[in-house]
């Protein structure tokens, strides 16, 4: 039994955000609850169930993939998304176990972008646009949301939109931890666009090493125009690792995580290159 005092089912996004505004910090949105229910020990005044707002489902079309915030992770693991949004497919497949994936939602996982979130990292690497409802309703690119201090107030994530996967593009998602149900030690996610074996666009995100996912924009931009080689992958991975100072905690030492950042970014980059159809030369 958890110390949750009241459970309210919101029937519309307006009702949910209005309730959140009127109660304030004592009220929290609840979607799948697979992280929240087991791990929150403190009493909570009001839980607002946002899983019945009609915000579930995936729409592919017009060069975009739109995912409703309360879409279950298991519903991302469909053949259509393997082709049009491979990063979502891969991140979904590595998230915990089937039992969790049948309940956990994409928006819920994203909103908790601090440590346990895998999708914060995956979506940061793919450059998703996040639609938010509430008083400050807006659509914002995920890296801007991150630099603006993430979500607050009555912000309710309603939709996540990605550009559909195109030719010459590749994605990599490398996750390392004790086991699949545990919070990973390090996640590296890479999105690559290449032409003629050269980097046209590169996005790198690292997760689980600090309180929020980290977007390594300068390191990625520095690789644009270079040929994708084993040497470039090593150079980028070293820079990524060198730019971060993960701290020691009960899960692993900072040095160990620093090395894992190098390895995970390298693996994700190599996977993305492979998916983009590049044969990596030394």
């Amino acid at each position: 039994m958890k110390e949750f005092r009241q459970f309210v089912v919101a029937r519309s996004p307006e009702e949910a955000t209005q309730l959140k505004r009127s109660i304030g910090p004592g009220a929290l949105y609840l979607a799948g609850g697979t992280t929240f229910v087991p791990f929150v020990k403190a009493p909570v005044e009001v839980l607002i169930d946002v899983s019945r707002l009609g915000l579930s489902g995936v729409v592919v079309g017009g060069g975009k993939v739109a995912v409703g915030a309360t879409t279950r992770i298991a519903d991302l693991m469909v053949p259509e998304l393997r082709d049009t949004a491979p990063m979502l497919y891969k991140a979904g497949r590595r998230l915990a176990t089937p039992l969790v994936r049948n309940a956990a939602t994409v928006g819920g996982n994203l909103a908790y972008a601090f440590l346990p979130s895998d999708f914060g990292v995956a979506l940061l690497a793919t450059g998703a646009e996040i639609e938010i409802l509430g008083e400050s309703a807006r659509a914002v690119f995920i890296e801007d949301l991150l630099s603006d201090g993430w979500l607050g107030g009555d912000d309710l994530v309603s939709k996540i939109t990605l550009a559909a996967h195109g030719r010459g593009q590749g994605t990599g998602f490398a996750k390392f931890g004790r086991g699949e149900v545990d919070i990973a030690l390090v996640i590296g996610a890479v999105w690559l666009e290449a032409f003629g074996g050269e980097v046209r666009g590169l996005r790198i995100a690292v997760g689980q090493t600090s309180s929020m996912p980290v977007f390594l924009k300068e390191i990625a931009d520095g690789a644009v125009g270079k040929k994708v080689t084993r040497g470039l992958i090593e150079e980028v991975s070293d820079l990524a690792s060198g730019s971060m100072e993960p701290r020691d905690d009960y899960r692993a030492s900072g040095d160990y995580k620093k090395n894992l950042i190098r390895v995970m970014v390298g693996r994700a980059f190599a996977e993305a290159a492979g998916e983009a159809g590049i044969k990596i030369a030394d």
């Binding site: 459970f7 609850g33 087991p38 169930d49 176990t97 039992l99 309940a103």
Partner: protein
């Protein structure tokens, strides 16, 4: 709050505090096959089918399941006749201590509905959330393979 659940085809109305998890309510209603194990969604002992899909009922509040259909192990046998998955588990002696078995069988039922002829690898992936601390996975995979065979050969459900 008052919660309406359909468990194994039977309608229940139950008063549950907001913080009560689904496993707690189901056990209170007498569905003791639903095991309360780790309470953090890791072990899979509390597996039930929610609208046909396996979920960990210990990391879901009962209130979240309001209005939904739930299948527990008690709902698999019909009129005294075992489900082919249950028969298969018996035939290959898949349960050891038995604690994980209800969850394993429910996950198997859901898998075989979606994928009537799974490979051993697909079976292993499907039961990844159901931990057997006796580590008797080989016989569990054998049992699910056998169940698939029974069901494709004209077994019921």
């Amino acid at each position: 709050m008052l919660i309406k659940l359909n468990v194994n085809g039977e309608a229940f109305e139950v008063e549950a505090p907001a913080g009560e998890t689904l496993v707690e309510v189901l056990r209170r209603l007498g569905f003791k096959s639903v095991k309360d194990g780790c309470y953090n969604g890791t072990c899979g002992g509390c597996t039930v089918l929610l609208d046909g899909r396996p979920v960990a009922s210990c990391i879901m509040l009962a209130a979240q399941a309001d209005g939904h259909s739930i299948t527990t192990l008690e709902g698999l046998a019909r009129g005294g006749e075992l489900h082919p998955v249950q028969e298969a588990f018996l035939e290959v002696n898949a349960p050891q201590c038995g604690f994980c078995t209800p969850g394993m069988m429910l996950t198997a039922v859901s898998l075989l509905r979606e994928n009537p002829n799974p490979t051993r690898e697909e079976i292993r992936e499907a039961i990844a959330g159901n931990t057997c601390r006796c580590s008797g996975y080989v016989s569990v995979v054998d049992a699910i393979s056998l169940a698939a065979k029974k069901m494709s050969e004209g077994g019921n459900r």
